[in-house]
Amino acid sequence: MGDGITNILVVGIGGQGVMTAAEMLARAAISQGYDVKKTEVAGMAQRGGVVSSHVRFGPKVYSPQIDAGEADLLIGFEAAEALRWLPHLRPTGVAMVNTLRIAPPVVSAGLYDYPADPIGELTATGIEVHAFDAGALAEQLGNAKLVNTIMLGAISDCLPFPAEVLKACIVEGFRAYKPKLADVNAQAFEAGREAGHIKAVSQRPAA
């Protein structure tokens, strides 16, 4: 964030709501008067492939893409995907990770292995990692689709503007289009915010 630009990389699997989450972050940044660019590789994404959405905001944004080693924040909707995109994070960056594991058919078929401990591999790099089971929180609140809002709540205290700005963007959006879901999303945001404060601790001895 040194050059006045904040780079957020949101990653996961097609259908998880990665692009919607990135859109919410972009809208919150716009409300703060920033120039914003958001880009993703989608296309075939809804068919179970990797999805990554780049959100960049600041006084003036040129390139929409976040370079390797340039992301300030990494939001991983799935554990192995967070690991896949880790090289995009700055050494001083923060990774916010849902511990959900989704093995693709090529793993299920025995052609590849799913990493035994992706969160452990993340923390072993020395990067600040926060990891929790967003799906379990969503189920406690009664709706599996709340994972998206929970993850945004989790990252909200790492942004260069108050968490309430992002929360208001999300909740008001629901109030306008799906009013019945506004309150539960407000709860989900706060639940995620609380969970996001827990730092994952490396299980491995320090090198």
């Binding site: 660019k37 590789v41 390139s63 896949r84 693709p104 058919p105 799913y114 599996a144």
Partner: protein, 622 residues
């Protein structure tokens, strides 16, 4: 409320490049817009369709879309056609001659090049078409520019009576950025078609006198480019390198080398060579950064200027900061630190077919029948080439399966003698360009078994409508083509036209086996809708009874993403042979209850549990 449609004048919005094009087209008074879906251009027409005062349609292919736009232009209306890069190849027959005749109402072709192949079969630089077809090219670098340039393109088109190409790339189409919306729609007077055979009937005698006029127009466009405010100079103190660039690479250059002077070409063809010459005189080294072919570079060099470009930069793919930085640093002789952290060696996550996808049945059948050469086509079913089916042998272009299969039949070699030739094609691709291949194969007495996978949607681009779905771009009821009758009309014998439920696996396998043995062409039509569209009815999920599962793994072979391996066991038979057993589980959230896997399960271990609410109801009544 939609941001694109309801944006008020002077308001600021986060719009994708495609949304910005739609808004600009509406403001410019476009009356007719046509396209065939194709990533990354699909959303242009989907957004134009939101404006009730623009006539918009899904055309059956890109050539038709451009011809529709040409007709509207000759009637005096402003018209737009949108397509992905490969669509230009299809459309080119029409615009190559219309460019010679010229236009009346502004005619803009918006083309989206998939630089980096996020969802395409090749990478093409559509700027060649501007050179080939004598049409000017505007190249936006972001949404704001897409919005402004589309409006300018219509003015340019009418001023010079030429079609204009607006060349986008994936990094404009699918990037969301801020757009300040200027005005509302400007309605224009439409004079109607003015008959003028010498102008509009392109016989040799009429076309010949147009040639010098077209070259005269090229010169006028070149002058317009020299003075255009779309070609802008960003000054910079570090004059060791001066960049000439267009489109998204401009953003990457500014990002990476903020102190370097940059000449940005928004009106990039014909190139403003005098302006470039003046710029070159101010810098030590001129470097062209363009995606993807060295077009500007070659023209600048031909104009006698010393220039660098593809000798230091890649000839394909995106010229993102991560690509530019090391290449330019090397040119300057400066050290460049490479980020030391390696990418974790992870499994790949390729796109898969969906749960209940009606293509799973045909591919289960194809992967279980030997001695087939399977010629494929463009669509979700191209994924059949992958794991676990490995049942698609070729894929190149829209509709090619039928004609290539026919050629493979006629050109059989030694190893093909006992093989049957199968063509696999979807409903929309068949209507786009496939039916000509079928007609050709029948007429020339070929023998191909055609699998027409009718899932009633353009699946890969997100479930758009086509003449086989019964609905139009706006979701309104539309005449629906009858594929069986169409195949019969083209000359397939009625006995050889078989409509099948792709979920009925035994029937599916039996039919493909039967028809591939026939000494004449046949068409097998599947009849289940895409499971991602509203036409699909989701049913209760199935589950695997673990104590009844024998570990045979047949259901895994289906390739349904809802089914995964629960555990593996190695057992030793009495004979001493070892065998690996694969026990399955079904994800209840992903399964949509299509029952295809049930057909693969001999021990009846896959069952549909009673719904819980029904149990509660029984208690309530009890």
């Amino acid at each position: 409320m939609n941001a694109v449609v309801h944006a008020k004048a002077e308001s600021r919005h986060l719009l994708s490049g495609n949304e910005a094009v739609a808004r600009a087209a509406w403001e410019a008074g476009v009356r007719v817009a046509a396209a065939y879906p194709g990533t990354p251009a699909t959303e242009i027409l989907e957004n134009i369709a939101l404006y009730p005062d623009v006539y918009s349609e899904w055309s059956v292919n890109e050539k038709v879309a451009v011809e529709v736009a040409i007709g509207a232009s000759l009637a005096g209306s402003r018209a737009l056609a949108a397509m992905k890069h490969v669509g230009m190849n299809v459309a080119s027959d029409a615009f190559m001659t219309q460019s010679l005749a010229g236009v009346v109402g502004g005619l803009v072709i918006v083309v989206a090049d998939d630089v980096g192949l996020s969802s395409s079969q090749n990478e093409q630089d559509s700027r060649y078409w501007g050179r080939f077809g004598h049409m000017p090219i505007l190249e936006p670098a972001d949404s704001q520019e897409a919005y402004e340039m589309v409006k300018r393109a219509f003015d340019l088109s009418e001023a010079h009576e030429t079609p204009v190409i607006v060349r986008m790339t994936t990094r404009v189409c699918h990037v969301k950025a801020m757009v300040v919306v200027e005005s509302g729609r400007i309605e224009r007077q439409v004079p109607g078609f003015q008959k003028n055979p010498q102008r509009w009937v392109m016989t040799p005698a009429n076309a010949k006198p147009r040639l010098p006029l077209m070259h005269q127009r090229d010169r006028a466009l070149r002058e317009a480019s020299e003075t255009s405010d779309l070609n802008t100079l960003s000054s910079g103190g570090d004059r060791r390198i001066g960049f000439v660039t267009s489109g998204p690479p401009f953003m990457h250059v500014r990002e990476t080398f903020p102190n370097a002077p940059v000449l940005k070409l928004g009106f990039s063809h014909p190139a403003p060579l005098d302006k470039i010459r003046a710029f070159a005189a101010q810098v030590d080294t001129l470097v062209v950064v363009e995606e993807t072919e060295p077009l500007l570079e070659t023209e600048i060099r031909a104009a006698g200027l010393e220039v660098r470009g593809k000798d230091v930069l890649p000839r394909f793919g995106e010229l993102a900061p991560s690509v530019l930085r090391p290449a330019i640093k090397a040119l300057l002789g400066e050290p460049h630190e490479v980020a030391a952290r390696a990418q974790a060696g992870l499994f790949p996550r390729p796109p898969t077919m969906c749960a209940s996808c009606p293509h799973l049945g045909p591919y289960f059948a194809l992967s279980h029948i030997r001695n087939l050469n399977i010629v494929g086509d463009i669509g979700c079913y191209t994924l059949g080439a992958g794991h676990p089916w490995n049942a698609l042998d070729t894929c190149i272009s829209m509709g090619a399966s039928l004609s290539m299969a026919h050629g493979m039949d006629k050109g059989r070699g030694e190893s093909d003698e006992k093989k049957s030739i199968v063509a696999v094609i979807g409903d929309s691709t068949f209507l786009h360009m496939g039916m000509q291949g079928l007609l050709n194969m029948i007429y020339n007495r070929g023998n191909v078994t055609v699998l027409l996978l009718d899932n009633r949607s353009v699946g890969m681009t997100g479930g758009q409508e086509n003449p086989g779905t019964g609905q139009d771009l706006h979701g309104l009821p539309a005449p629906r083509v009858d594929f069986a009758k169409l195949a019969e009309a083209l000359g397939i014998r009625p006995e050889r036209i078989r409509t099948v439920d792709p979920y009925e696996l035994p029937t599916m396998v039996k039919l493909v086996r039967e028809e591939t043995k026939m000494e004449e062409p046949s068409v097998i039509i599947t009849n289940r809708p895409c499971s991602l569209t509203d036409r699909f009815e989701r049913l209760r999920a199935y589950t695997v009874l673990d104590d009844q599962c024998t570990g045979c793994g047949n259901c895994i072979d289906l390739g349904c993403p809802a089914i995964s391996v629960a555990r593996r066991e190695t057992v030793t038979a009495k004979s001493g042979k070892t065998k690996e057993l694969v026990f399955a589980r079904i994800d209840p959230n992903t399964c949509t209850g299509c029952h295809m896997c049930v057909e693969t399960c001999a021990p009846d271990a896959i069952v549909q549990p009673e719904p819980q609410n029904r149990v509660i109801r029984i208690h309530a009544h009890g």
